[in-house]
């Protein structure tokens, strides 16, 4: 297996997302960039899981049932979990964006700096 390539892909996606988060001024774009970062993380989780699981199984040949599931599927479960949370987070984030738009008439994140004062 070649987990390195998958990890490089993950790092590239994460960095693109981070760049978007740090540079885009439109709040919706920032949310989208965050989604890209999530995907980078998901890929890393699955890649590592795929890489680690066979070694773990070899080390514990006697393992059965839940123990096997735990060894093999942890990364995948993480992935599904992150997707779920990301969906919820986008829903919440968009709601906040709409609320900000209604309140201030803009979705430019550089304009939303009330905390400074």
């Amino acid at each position: 297996m070649m987990p390195e390539r998958l990890l490089v892909l993950s790092a590239v996606l994460f960095s693109i997302g981070l760049y978007g988060v740090l540079t885009r001024r439109n709040a919706v774009s920032v949310l989208m960039a965050i989604e890209i970062m999530f995907n980078g993380v998901i890929i890393a989780a699955i890649a590592v899981s795929r890489y680690v699981a066979p070694a773990a199984l070899r080390a514990n040949p006697a393992a059965t049932g839940d123990a096997v599931v735990q060894m093999v599927l942890t990364g995948q479960v993480f992935a599904i979990f992150i997707i779920t949370v990301a969906a919820a987070e986008v829903a919440l984030g968009l709601a906040i964006v709409i609320a900000v738009y209604r309140a201030r008439g803009t979705v430019d994140v550089t304009e939303v700096n009330l905390l400074r004062r």
């Binding site: 981070l18 988060v21 740090l22 994140v109 550089t110 939303v112 700096n113 009330l114």
Partner: protein, 652 residues
């Protein structure tokens, strides 16, 4: 077997305490308007019951060599140390119980008349109950910590009662003075207790409890000599404060600002007796240290003479009495110091009766004349015959004239000092003898100025403020005031015979009192008795010459001895020294000013500095907070990169 049970002994303590609680929580808040007399009756009932129980205790302790000690009750546990509370009942306790409850009972009866119509009537009796209870607690305690708690309660009650008429600035000041000056001595007592705590390992190794009084007696033989000396001196410091010994005597004369029955109680049975009792209580400890014994004897002897000289020139009848108390307490300390605690207690026993009598008599005189200044009295014996006769008994007893009670105990003290041998004992013997002369003189002077000659106008002649409050009505006081005087007069006549120095008499074996307290009685010395009586008669004679027959004019003598008179009437300038130099100059201008500077320049500056730092730091760092989330994100990302980079370069 003892016929007394522990609950009965506790009841002696808790009856007056209950009286305090009932008066303070029930009578004073709810019934004060119409039934304030009730508080007096409750107090008398409680103290009376305690008195009867005390008599039972005394009866059951007769013939017991060993102290009756019930197993004490655990109170607190600190590490491996258990602090216990309980009752220690030995002859000393039994005698003190009877003296305290007996005198207190008479004073309460007297107060019915003296305090009649006072707006603080219930408060007065509440405090008096608490005062009596505290003193009984001191006497009964089996642990030094328990004793200390009651000891401080006695101090508190004296503060409350001396400052009873708190609206008078002099009373408030005197109360504060009494509290603070005695507290100086209490620091020594507290240090002694802490010292015991430090030495707990020595005690525990012996299976002893460092706070248990009987164990402290036992430990006196085990502890190193210097430890015993310091412990004794610490405890003695507490006694010096409470018993008004030099140099902490200044509060006692000022304590006259309280109501007169309070003075009687303080001077006879409670407050000042606590100091003598304390030294007697820890006598087995003192005995092991020659230094401590000599200190006690010298301070006692010096105080006996020193205070008596000041009594010579006072015009306030209660102040004469106050200095007399200080002086008599000096005698008791002296007796303790020469190794005769039983004799000291004998004198305390007699003194309690005749001094209470004298104070209550002074109160009776004040009731009639409205003043305490003897210059405005005179000729009262025709108007108040019972007061006159009883006070004459008390005065002669104080002067140590045969056959009144004071003669017996004073003589025993002189005898013990004389027989003691050694330089210190010789010295204090002569001090005590000088004290006898001075005592006889000032007490006779007081009697002549008050009761003989012609009446000089009382409060109306004195003419400032109080005249309207206390009109002069020259008549005998009401029977509630006279009755205690008569009872005390009989006691002052007869209490000396409990010691019976001469031989078996009236069913009391010779030297009963002294041997009951575990002392060894010296055979009476007729020659010494003759000398002391002669000296006392000389004192009385001089007073007759000066104040009765006026052969020697007091004014002329005063002029002739002007410097001495000035020195005495200014009380050796000690009050000025304490208040002017120590408190005013050293404390206010020195310590207080320094602390003020520290507060202003160090403490306040530190506070200001912290504020300044926060404000300016915030101002300096404020521009960094742009409110731009993305800028923060950049910094966070760069920071994480830096940490990862550092890990890669320097890690592993």
């Amino acid at each position: 077997m003892s016929s007394i049970y522990e609950p009965q002994a506790w009841a002696i303590l808790f009856l007056p305490l209950a009286s305090f609680v009932i008066i303070a929580l029930l009578i004073r808040p709810f019934l004060n308007q119409r039934y304030s007399r009730l508080s007096g009756y409750v107090t008398i009932a409680a103290v009376g019951a305690a008195f009867i129980l005390s008599l039972l205790v005394l009866k059951s302790t007769l013939g017991h060599e060993e102290p009756i000690g019930w197993v004490s009750h655990p109170w607190l546990t600190i590490g491996d140390l258990e602090i216990r509370v309980g009752i220690l009942l030995d002859p000393l306790t039994a005698i003190m119980l009877v003296v305290v409850t007996g005198v207190s009972l008479l004073v309460q009866v007297y107060s019915q008349g003296y305090m009649k119509g006072d707006p603080g009537y219930s408060r007065y009796f509440a405090f008096m109950s608490l005062f009596t209870a505290s003193m009984l607690g001191v006497v009964l305690s089996s642990s030094i910590l328990q004793l200390y708690v009651f000891w401080e309660m006695v101090g508190l009650c004296s503060y409350l009662l001396i400052g009873f008429w708190y609206h008078r600035p002099a009373a408030a000041a005197a109360a504060k003075k009494a509290f603070i000056v005695t507290r100086i001595g209490d620091v020594g007592f507290l240090l002694a207790i802490l010292y015991l705590f430090l030495h707990r390992d020595t005690f525990l190794a012996q299976g002893l409890n460092p706070f248990d009084i009987t164990d402290i007696w036992a430990a006196a033989l085990v502890l190193p000599a210097f430890a015993v000396t310091w412990l004794s001196l610490g405890i003695f410091a507490g006694a010096v404060g409470k018993s008004g010994q030099f140099p902490l005597h200044t509060w006692l004369p000022d304590a006259m600002e309280g109501p007169t029955p309070v003075s009687a109680l303080i001077h006879a049975a409670t407050m000042v007796a606590a100091g003598v009792f304390l030294v007697a209580r820890f006598f087995p400890l003192f005995q092991e240290s020659e230094t401590a014994m000599h200190t006690v004897a010298l301070i006692g002897g010096f105080t006996a003479v020193f205070a008596a000289t000041m009594g010579l020139v006072m015009y306030d009848i209660k102040r004469v009495m106050a200095y007399s108390t200080v002086s008599q307490l000096g005698y008791m300390m002296l007796a303790l110091g020469v190794g005769a605690p039983a004799v000291a207690m004998f004198h305390l026993f007699n003194h309690a009766f005749f001094k209470a009598l004298l104070f209550l008599g002074a109160g009776s005189v004040n009731h009639a004349t409205g003043t305490f200044d003897m210059r405005y009295m005179g000729g009262l014996r025709r108007h108040m015959p019972i007061t006159y006769v009883t006070m004459a008994i008390g005065s002669l007893s104080l002067a140590g004239i045969f056959p009144l009670s004071g003669f017996w105990s004073k003589d025993e003290i002189l005898l013990e000092a004389w027989r003691g041998g050694g330089l210190v004992n010789q010295l204090v013997f002569w001090m005590a003898l000088a004290g006898v002369f001075l005592t006889a003189f000032y007490v006779s002077r007081m009697m002549f100025m008050t009761f003989h000659g012609t009446f000089r106008g009382g409060a109306e002649a004195e003419g400032h403020g109080q005249g309207a409050e206390h009109p002069v009505h020259l008549a005998e006081s009401p029977w509630v005031m006279v009755l205690p005087l008569v009872v005390l007069g009989v006691l002052a006549l007869g209490s000396g015979y409990v010691a019976n120095p001469l031989g078996d008499l009236a069913g009391i074996p010779a030297h009963w009192f002294v041997e009951f307290l575990g002392g060894h009685a010296e055979p009476a010395s007729l020659s010494l008795a003759a000398v002391s009586t002669l000296v006392a008669l000389l004192g009385v004679g001089l007073a007759v010459l000066m104040y009765q027959t006026r052969t020697l004019s007091p004014d002329a003598v005063g002029r002739a001895l002007r410097p001495a008179r000035e020195l005495l009437s200014h009380r050796y300038y000690l009050d000025s020294l304490y208040e002017g130099v120590l408190v005013g100059r050293l404390f206010y201008r020195g310590v207080a000013r320094f602390l003020d500077w520290v507060d202003r320049e160090v403490v306040d500056r530190t506070g200001d500095g912290v504020g300044w730092l926060g404000r300016n730091l915030g101002r300096g760092l404020a521009p960094i907070q742009t409110g731009q989330l993305q800028a923060y994100g950049v910094v966070i990302s760069l920071g994480i990169l830096a940490i990862i980079g550092a890990y890669l370069v320097f890690g592993r």
